[in-house]
Assembly symmetry: C2
Homo-oligomer: 346 residues x 2
DNA sequence: CTGTTAGCGCTTTCAG
DNA sequence: CTGAAAGCGCTAACAG
């Protein structure tokens, strides 16, 4: 196995010192254009690529970002085979962004509810020495983790978290999105619009509910709290919520559910009771996971890839010493109109 | 930010030399149990975790495995939002296996069809110095990559590849699986069973076809080559193939498709022509991606997670110096019976 | 603008 | 069985 080419070889080839090569590959100033060109030529000729490990050892950066996901939630998603593509979207956004900066993203699973979160996170940091950490729900709002990271002075980003606190908070405007969905339904002619909430464990559940309330209150028909049914993101809770909404004296003609799974549950529950979609009932869901596609659900698109790209970007720039980066970023949500929505039959 | 705890701190705490600590954490011989215990206690007390970068610099191992996926194919899968969970399954199998050995898996995207594959792969190796590389289709059978890896003497595993060659070949028995599916259909009472092939670019397409032929030939009804329709794994090709099968003078009552997408296409094409499933037509697909679940397709389960776990295991053991590891491993496939299969109506 | 000198935290090699 | 010395490939901190 031919020995790998190192900075030494490049230096020799270009007839300069190691340091000059280092300066060139790091885009540092104080290198004459001529020399710079000579070095770049040597790099290209030898196919030199710096070793991440050596860079981390010598310098202060590791060129590694660590994405922390909840162990149970992630594995459960993978095992279920339901195509929850949270991880894929994160990779697509974060990994590709990292790539364009010479960074790598390493995926780590940590059990949020464990007593050993602290040790687990510390261990991962000790092993990897990442330049930054990306937190996904529910880690994003776990004080045991955010506190640790803050204390360590390690830059971190909280994805899909709107809570106050340290670190870069990157989210979509959940309230705005809910209001948008309500307005879309109002525009189609719906008056009685139900809402199924998400688990109170997530701050965004509250935001989505707020947006719904705001939009309904602003509508000519006003807000009717009896149209708000509790859910917890599970299929079962979606069924229960939908049943309660359909049992109302004056049932809604449209429903906004806080995630795809509950929307799917709502859809099936409605059909089981003989309602046809969208003639008798329109449904809009949140997130737009593959399930929404398959179930032909009109959905608010949660821009996971974009959020994780923004997170990676913030972290990389912070490590590079850039300051005055936005502490909180709002990423625009999307909207996919499919077959689950239409004008009410009346 | 408190300085990280290093091997020095542990050595001081335990009152031994660096070397002894190194021996203990690497499970090397020649350390008295008493001393070993003392070191372990110090490690636990200080929460010491060795730095991957330093290990790689000092020694010959990096504790990193690199999973190489095709760029276009992967990004396309992510963008489509169709829930192709290949990446997730790979992560689940490979990452968790790595974790249990103190390894990490790094995901890399490389364009298989590019002229720069060689440079791209070399670059990734130079940056990461992985102890092993996991190749997924179509990389698994790309000589530009396998040849490079062989030349470098870097251990690698080819997932879902049954072709001969260097590296660990890890696959399911595609022919056996196809035969199994055919037998299942025969058992339900089907006599005319169609087959939709996959893209010839993949060796496993041939294997699946072989299994089908073998099982049909062994059946009392014999093999009828007119029941074999060409596909290339795309939805459109599935539609075309199904249309040709349904146009046959004596149409099949069951169809085995080489992947979920084509099976889905077959299903919809049949329904569009007024056939009901499974009464008029039974369908079995390969792979069992989330689509199979959503479309209620009976499917052969491609054990991606298991294959990637086996790959990781082989690579890690090879790096640890273990020899006589199986050059090729066959991982058992699974079978998920759903609503797309039943007895023929006659 | 460029080169030299120290390490970074480990493992390898070689002495005891 | 244990320790000391050398060095991996790079960057930071100085000298020129």
């Amino acid at each position: 196995m031919r020995r790998a080419v190192t900075i030494k070889h490049v230096a020799a080839e270009a007839g300069v010192s190691l340091q000059t090569v280092s300066r060139v590959i790091n885009n540092e100033p104080n290198v004459r254009p001529v020399v710079q060109e000579r070095v770049r030529a040597a790099v290209a000729k030898l196919g030199y690529v710096p070793s991440l490990a050596a860079r981390r050892m010598g310098g202060s950066r590791s060129y590694l970002l660590m994405a922390l996901n909840d162990r149970d939630r992630t594995i459960e998603g993978w095992k279920s085979g339901e195509g929850t593509d949270w991880v894929d979207q994160m990779l697509m956004g974060g990994m590709l962004k990292c790539e364009s900066h010479g960074y790598r993203m390493i995926f780590e699973l940590v059990d949020t509810h464990s007593d050993h979160v602290d040790a687990a996170v510390r261990g991962a940091i000790a092993a990897l020495h990442p330049d930054g950490v990306i937190l996904t729900p529910p880690h994003s709002e776990n004080p045991a983790i955010t506190g640790l990271l803050s204390g360590l002075g390690l830059p971190f980003a909280r994805i899909a978290s709107i809570a106050e606190g340290d670190g870069f908070a990157i989210a979509m405007d959940d309230a705005e999105a809910a209001a948008f969905a309500v307005d879309h339904l109002l525009g189609l002619g719906h008056r009685r619009i139900g809402f199924i909430t998400g688990s109170a464990e997530y701050a965004l559940s509250g935001a989505r509910l707020d947006g719904y309330r705001r939009a309904m209150a602003a509508s000519p028909h006003g807000l009717d709290e009896s149209l708000v049914a509790r859910g917890d993101f599970s299929y079962e809770s979606g069924v229960a919520a939908m049943e309660s909404l359909l049992a109302l004296p004056e049932r809604p003609t449209a429903v906004l559910a806080s995630n795809d799974r509950m929307a799917h549950a709502a859809l099936r529950t409605a059909k089981r009771q003989g309602l046809s979609v969208p003639a008798d009932l329109s449904v809009i869901s949140f997130d737009n996971t593959p399930l929404a596609r398959f179930a032909d659900l009109t959905a608010i698109i949660q821009p996971i890839a974009e959020m994780s790209a923004v997170a990676a970007e913030c972290l990389i720039r912070a490590t590079a010493g850039e300051t005055d980066l936005p502490q909180r970023s709002l990423v625009p949500f999307g909207f996919a109109e499919r077959g689950s929505t239409g004008a009410p039959k009346i």
